[in-house]
Amino acid sequence: MNHNNRPLSPHLQVYRLPLTGIVSITHRMTGVMLSFGLFLFVYLVSSIAGGSDSYASMQEVMDIWLFRLMYWGFIYALFFHLVHGVRHLIWDMGKTYEKENLDSLAIKELIISFSLTLFTFIFV
């Protein structure tokens, strides 16, 4: 039997993902990144538990620009994952599946998660 001539579904590499698809895979990627970020969280709380000396050296480490960048990456990933997670919960209730609203809702998600990050940066 010849298997070479079968119809194929679009390969992910050549298929232009709709915005919902991009947001969806970003949700998964931020989820994995945040999971790795949890190790950083354990380092931070352990440094507080270690007393004022270990706290001070941890703050020195976290002052390095690369760690600051990772920190703000974590915060943005957190808000993105949170906002899209809420969207998933709304989807789970069987709502907002209308095709014509998908793009505008995805853009709203991006705006809200970016605004929350900016708000944290300025006010917290």
Partner: protein, 126 residues
Amino acid sequence: MDFRTPLSKVKGLGSAKSGTSHWWLQRVTAVALVPLSYWLVILLDMTLNAPYQETVAWMNEPFHSVCIIAWVLAVFYHSALGLQVVIEDYVSQEGIKIVAVWSVNLVFLLFALAALIAVFKIILVG
């Protein structure tokens, strides 16, 4: 009524019968994490910028420590559940898949304990 064929039964294929609770607990922890993230962001900000005494005092507020402990419990569980789905989606080889999922579970359990012990030490010792 049983619709499964004898062959599928003997091969052990099909539902493991724990998918619904996995899916449900992913949602339950997600809902819990939405408000709890607020205390996480405050704690992270203090940890990076506030003096030692201030951060410890903040953690010693009972309401704050409860929220942080609840966040730790929910987030490590939520994370392990999520990573399990990712592994199951991308790892096709059965043996590697099982080892990967349980390694993740074990590592996340240990780190959750480490986080909890650290929080308790901050509260009890200061």
